[in-house]
Subunit: 246 residues, 2 copies
């Protein structure tokens, strides 16, 4: 009996286990202290307090995560854009860590599913996605330190989204890049709409890009053109990897 007791007291609750697995999948490594990640998704409306009576919510971690993100992107740009002066680096960074971009990153990871709040989640504005993306980075720093933050940002921000040419405005359209590449490689491409509906009066288009009858990327946006461009961007990054492997 005592052995059973030991096992049970040490095992996580079922709920924690599910959260642990979901967070691990997003991070790409195991959390050490799950509390950090719980804090990252705790809204102030819960009025949670630490044992010392200090408020616990994601806003402090957001401050921390914002700082870590800025540093990691600064170091990345410093190395990757050796031609750029201080003004250039500052401008590029603010494009990468723009509110709009952070919201997109948070949304893509569906972080909002983890939020604990007394206020209904649909009452939050758009910025909630970016805010909890930053608080998640803060939690990673608290849990595992700077190197893990760097690794996470590399995987979730830099590799899939950061393209210096695009940020510089040199790439006008990813769709044209994809088409150009397909023509050069003698591949057949096709954009088709797999979804067309309206949520809360907002029209939403889902576009699928296939190359040689294989689906390469999907994206949703408020216009067909935007969805095509988004899918093309995703395809472009996927193709880039392929092209590099050659």
């Amino acid at each position: 009996m005592s052995i059973f007791k030991k096992i049970f007291s040490k095992s996580r609750s079922l709920e924690d286990g599910i959260f642990f697995n979901a967070v691990e999948k997003i991070l790409g490594f195991a959390p050490q202290n799950l509390d950090n990640y719980k804090n990252a998704f705790t809204h102030r409306s819960l009025n949670r307090l630490s044992n010392e009576g200090n408020p616990i919510n994601y806003e402090r971690l957001e401050f921390l995560g914002d700082a870590m993100l800025s540093s990691v992107i600064a170091a990345y740009l410093f190395t990757e854009a050796p031609h750029g002066d201080e003004g250039y680096l500052t401008k590029m960074r603010s494009k990468i860590v723009s509110r709009e971009h952070l919201n997109e990153l948070g949304k893509d990871l569906n972080l909002i599913q983890f939020i604990e709040s007394k206020v209904p989640v649909h009452h939050f504005g758009e910025n909630i996605h970016g805010n909890i993306f930053e608080s998640l980075i803060g939690a990673i720093y608290q849990d595992r330190g700077y190197a893990y933050c760097e690794q996470f940002i590399q995987k979730r921000v830099i590799v899939p989204y950061v393209d210096i040419s695009r940020l510089e405005g040199k790439v006008i359209s990813y769709k044209s890049l994809v088409i150009e590449w397909c023509q050069k490689e003698k591949k057949i491409f096709n954009y088709d709409i797999f979804e067309d509906n309206a949520i809360d009066g907002q029209r939403l288009f889902g576009v699928r890009l296939s190359i040689d009858d294989k689906v390469i990327a999907k994206a949703r946006a408020t216009s067909k053109k935007k969805a095509e461009e988004k899918a093309s961007q995703r395809a472009y990054f996927a193709l880039q990897e392929k092209m590099d492997k050659k």
Copy 2:
């Protein structure tokens, strides 16, 4: 002969050796690649270029150092001020990394002595001190990584200068704190002016604070009152350590 040759080719130039030692003393650890530190003190007026033709000057490192400083201070405040919300943390950080404060830090380390420039150093404005303090942090990041940045900022910024009570405005005057402590400890204190002159039309006072006939701190400022307060602040931090040891 070949042995001699080997020794000589491996040894640093005399000039580099002096610079290496001076930098090591400031950092508290040995530089790995001295070029990083040379870049941190290179003014754009020299028009230096890398082998790839990219401009080399301290401005890019300043961008990097600014980011690292913000992160390290953010993490410090996150831990040390668990009662503070996001707004509080943001405000405290901006006080610590204020232009004025960074200039003071750069000046105290006399970093300006290392600047290489075509423009005479006295033509630079006051901000040069803070700018090269930041570029030095950027160089540390490039040379040794985040942990060494953290160590340097801990030693050169946080330990000697960061006092949350003071930043919160709770401490009105360090002079009154010092006097209070001396009275409680039955110690005799004395502020005396050891210097009173004018440079470029700017009056400068040097004040020395002694406690029980031992000089505890010295400071220079543009008024007697300011110099006394500065010396008191330095003494306060020195005394704090003593008081903690009790």
